[in-house]
């Protein structure tokens, strides 16, 4: 049983410390994410929000503390084990991180081409389904290169790529930054839909408060390397803490 009360949380961060070039970025943070939950990590620029996602993915290692994902400690896992843990995860990058030289079909179907024995026709069908799920017309975009897509389309293709293998855990790094309000709401609705329909656990890093209030079950506010607030949307809105009021202002 953890602090959150759930016996089997998807993610546990315990006393995680990390510094870059002698500058502390994370100063002993604790965070628990339960199955099916959407947790938004808020904070100003350079607060270390994206670093939390990179730690959860095992792309970087903490100097101190433990990171447990689906019951497995990322710090003690071998490289092959970390790759195996990532099979159940998906990540939506801030800049989409689509492979420049591959078409939308090859980008979205990348995971299936790499890790399954599905035929090309089956993968194409799955790609079309994923594109439809993110409100893109497969016939229009499937043969295009990333450079031929608009910013909003790139984000949605990135989302389709992250969810095509139906991961249990989805991580989002600023999924709505730089998007217009209509596209932002569409992406927010998609994140909620994935949680409702597929029961996906999500960690969303954002500095967009409106977006966070729409999608979050729980919010964590990161400031100067520490989580200074953790609670529901209502808790945050009614909080009297000065740093929360300052952030909401």
């Amino acid at each position: 049983m953890t602090a959150s009360g759930h016996p089997d949380p998807v993610i546990q961060l315990r006393g995680v410390r990390l510094s870059f070039g002698g500058r502390p970025v994370l100063d002993g943070i604790d965070l628990v994410v339960d199955p099916g939950e959407t947790v938004c990590i808020l904070g100003g620029s350079g607060a270390g929000k994206s670093t939390v996602l990179r730690l959860i993915l095992g792309l970087i290692q903490p100097e101190e503390g433990e990171i447990i994902v689906n019951g497995r400690e990322m710090g003690t896992a071998s490289y092959e084990e970390v790759l195996e843990i990532r099979l159940d995860m998906g990540m939506v990058f801030q800049g989409a991180a689509l492979f420049d030289s591959l078409t939308v079909l090859d980008n979205v179907g990348f995971y299936l081409f790499e890790h399954t024995d599905l035929s090309d026709a089956e993968i194409r069908q799955r790609v079309e389904d994923a594109l439809e799920m993110v409100d893109l017309d497969p016939a229009e975009v499937i043969g295009l290169l990333p450079s031929e897509l608009s910013g909003g389309m790139r984000k949605r293709v990135g989302l389709a790529r992250a969810l095509i293998h139906e991961p249990k855990l989805l991580l989002y790094d600023e999924p709505t930054s730089g998007l217009d309000p209509i596209t932002t709401r569409t992406i927010d609705e998609l994140i909620r839909k994935l949680q409702r329909e597929l029961g996906v656990t999500s960690v969303v890093v954002t500095h967009d408060l409106d977006s966070a209030f729409r999608i979050a079950d729980r919010l964590a506010l990161l400031s100067e390397g520490k989580i200074v607030f953790e609670g529901s949307v209502e808790d945050m809105k009614s909080s009297d803490e000065s740093y929360v009021r300052e952030f909401l202002a």
Binding site: L57, L83, R86, G90, M91, F93, A97, D100, E114
Partner: protein
Amino acid sequence: MGFLDGASSLLRFPGERLKLLAWHTQEYVRLAGRAAVGLVTRPFYGRDFIVQLDAVGVGSLGIVFLTGLFTGMVLALQSAVEMEQFGATIYIGRLVGASTVRELGPVLTALMVSGRAGSGIAAELGAMRVTEQIDALQTMAVDPVRKLVVPRLAACLLAIPLLTIVTDLVAIFGGLLIAVVKLDLTFDLYMRSVYQTLAQTGFILRYVPIDFVMGLVKPMFFGAIIALTACHFGMRAEGGTEGVGRAATGSVVTASILILATDYFLTQILIALLIQ
């Protein structure tokens, strides 16, 4: 106080540089080890290998052809100036053949491919690093060393020796052009002179000149240096587009120095093994 601070930072500077050099060396060796394992264990990325072979090998043919041609021509011209004084121009084929096959062919090919393909690899991987494409690969449980480094290493290991053969042949042809057109030597005389110098150090397996073998062992090492150096710098690029530029420059400078240094030591080893 200010002076002492300045002196201390001056003293600290070489220490930082040494630490950085040690870190690069450690990471380079680690990358080489992982790539070597990737060459002989699954999964193999055959399609990526073919694409890289085309980019490194076929893509470098033009530059290698021109390098060989002008190197052979200038070698013949320069040696003619000296040899004419002793009436020894008939030996120009020897000089062009020996210096090309033993040294200039492998080294110049490697340096040119490092400048062209090595910088391209470093820039491509650097751009993938700064736009988080390499992170994306890792999040999809794909090992970037196997997916990106191994196909490039395999392509360079195969392409550089083949390109060296092209350089050797074209350089000998360039020397022939000068010998026939400017020095009035016959085709037969020039080619016999080339053959004599290659036969001088002996043969392996009865028909393969030792010089030729030496000239092909080196490019395999040079190919590994070009690919690993470019991948090392590219995959560690940071700092946006400026970082990509730094990665490409660092890759070419480092690979060039490593090629020239390795050439010396390999020559020593090969002479000891094959000739003495």
